[in-house]
Each structure stands twice: as C-alpha cells, then as structure tokens.
Symmetry: C2
Subunit: 226 residues, 2 copies
C-alpha cells in the first residue's frame, strides 16, 4: 500500500517535470525569466510585488496569480497596469494546495509572453507542496515573515532548501515580537548553507530597493548572452 | 486524465473516512474528546497549547504533534508534563502537508488513551489540505493570526468552513498592522455564518481564559451522558 502510493507520487512528479520542461521551452522562446514565488499564507508576497512590479527599471513584468479561490490578489496587481492572469486551484477536491506545471501550462495562452521580460508566478500560500512541483521557472524565491517565528526553516526544510533567495519580511514588527532574527537567519543557513537572504518590510518600504534590484538583475542576467 | 484524478482522490478520501471511523471508535471506547487543531505555519497553535494544556480544571489532556520534520513543538509541550507523541510526515515525498486518519491511527498505540480525557491533534501548518482529511476528531479548531491579513477566509474558505471555532490570535500586534479585525471577522462570518470566534493573544495572555474554558467545556460536554 505504501509502496503503491510512493510509485503513484513518483509518476506524478515525472509527469510534472515533463510538462515543466515544455513550459520552460516556451518561456525560453520568448526570452522570459520566470520566478516561482512562494510562502506561507499571509507572508506578504502580493504586497512585495505591489511595491516593485510596476517600476523595474525597464524590465516589463507580468504576474500569474495562484490561489485556491478568488481573485483578490490579481485585482490588486492589475491596478498597477501590468499583465496579470488568475489561476484558481479550487476545481480539485476542496482546492489544490500548490501550483503544478500543468496548471501553469493551462494559463500560458492567456499570458502575453511576447510583451514581458519577467514572469512572477505567485504560488498558493503553503510551505510544503509548492516546493515539490517545478513549473518551468528559472528561479525560486520564498518569503518568510518574522511573525511566523524563527523555527520555520527547521520545520519546513524542503521549501527553504528549494529556494535561490529567502526574503525575511515584516521586520518592522520585530520590536513587538519575542523572536530573534539572528536565530531565524541561523536556521535558514543551517538547512540551506549559503542561500542569499534579504531583510525587508513591505509595509515601511525598508529593503524594498534591494528586492527590486534583485528582480531586475535576475532578469537581465538571464537575458544576457551566455 | 482529470476524471481519473478525481476518482483517485475520491477513493483516497473514502479510505481515509473508513480509518477515521476506526479512530473515532477507539477514542469513544476510552471516553476521549478529540480536537483537530489547524492553522497556517506560525499562527501560534503550540503557544496556545503551552498556555492552557497543563491547567485544564481537572481535564487530563494529551497532544499529538504533527510536523513535516523535527520535534521542536513536542519538546516544548512535553516540558509541561502532559503526554505528547510526535508524528512526522516527512517519510512521504518531501513530506505530506497534512495529517490523515492513517497517520493518526499509527500513533494511537503510543498514546495513553486510558489516562486522558482530551486529545489535541496539532496538524501540519497549512490552510488547505488539513481541512480535507478527517482523522476521527469530535471538533475542529483553527487559528488565524491577524498578521496573516484580513482576506484569508476568502482565499481559504474550506478551512474556515470546516471549523467549529475560529481563534483570532496575535491581537496584541493590531496597533502595528494595517488591518481591520472587524473586516477579518466579517470575512469569517461570510464564509461560515454563525461560527464562534475568539480574539486572543498567546503572547500577552489576553483571551486565553476563554480558550481554556472552551477546551474544558468541550471535553465535559462530550463526556456527559446524552
């Protein structure tokens, strides 16, 4: 029974990787850099995009919004006049807890890939399964809010290990919390040695310039001839 | 393909419900009230248990800790000298994002059911899948931290609908956030009309007495002859 389950899961991940490669080919053909953006619910992904996505130093960005239900985040971002496509996962049983390559593929036709340089895929808020499904991205970024506590890297190590950048958000709240950002960063380093980290507050704007620069540089680096 | 997937999922949920009923029979035979305790990562479930579980007015409590990896929460709670059993879900592919009835069943032998009146099952931090898997519980409680924002009921409605109580935690941080607790409560009411809610701060202790009373009353009500 357990072995059968593992095989079904492995087959599903193989199928996912095949579709992710097809997505990757489409992104490459259009010269689009793709960031898979992940976090727990309410860590501040949408606010971090609102703060940066419309002003990326010439980089033309689009967003694919993944949510179980609703289009609130897509509505917020479309106010910024960037292309936004909403993808809802609720057609499954009670809603899928992550995006997979096939869901992203189903949204590609609605995305003006020829008009953008950077696509940010905002995943479903969840620290487990989104890290297990490649969707054809170049880079993976996660947001860990300090309000979630300093132990999250140790409890959800796969997510922290899967990422190319860990953004530590809501640092404006540190004076009001009983947590140590040094211990949080040490826990990140323990599960993913050397991963870059960035301390920001989407609310006050602290650190937002560094996040904007990271997005611009990631796009330009990918676009540069090898 | 989609239809096949739906059938596999329905079969899995049927199998889960069968095992959940077996768990339920075991709990009933020992007169144990069971609470399935759910939230996003870092919403404060463990701290809310630390604040109450050792002092429940004569109710003898035990805890089943569900985590992808590690035993940090179980270690924190065992310091309170209540029976605690750790269940890790990481044996799956990268870790299961929820507890299911079979995982709970596998832990039953390690739980001293004859010595407790109340079992709190602390689920994996996730607002999607834990709501889809019954584990044999009497009651479901979720924690929504105000730091997660006021829109979470609209984005993760199944979780809010599945619960018998919604605890709104971290209210001590409200003066430092741009969110309205009234709008959060209105969103809870919109997706689950009439569900009881409770405003608490695990950090300052505000509202903790009401949460303790709720646990005591839930246990005593279940134990009373029908």
């Amino acid at each position: 029974m357990h072995r059968t389950k593992v095989r079904i899961v492995e087959d599903a991940l193989d199928a996912n990787n095949t579709i992710a490669r097809a997505n990757r080919d489409d992104f490459d053909r259009h010269g689009v850099t793709v960031v898979n953006f992940m976090s727990a619910p309410g860590a501040g992904k949408t606010t971090l995009l609102e703060r940066t996505i419309a002003d990326l130093d010439g980089v033309r960005a689009g967003v694919l919004e993944g949510d179980v239900e609703g289009s609130m985040d897509a509505d917020r971002l479309s106010a910024l006049h960037v292309p936004v496509v909403q993808l809802n996962t609720a057609s499954g049983f009670g809603g899928e807890c992550h995006l997979d390559a096939n869901m992203v593929r189903s949204a590609l036709a609605a995305l003006p890939l020829e008009e953008i340089d950077l696509l940010v895929i905002e995943n479903v808020g969840n620290l487990v399964c989104p890290a297990e499904f490649r969707v054809g991205e170049d880079l993976r970024v996660m947001v860990s809010a300090v309000t979630e506590g300093e132990d999250k890297p140790l409890k959800y190590p796969l997510m922290f290990r899967a990422c190319d950048l860990v953004i530590v958000n809501k640092i404006d709240l540190l004076p009001h919390l009983d947590i140590s950002v040094e211990r949080l960063l040490a826990n990140v380093e323990a599960v993913h040695p050397g991963v870059p980290t960035m301390l920001v507050s989407a609310r006050t704007g602290e650190g937002i310039d560094a996040w904007r620069d990271w997005l611009v540089n990631a796009t330009n680096r990918a676009a540069a001839p090898a």
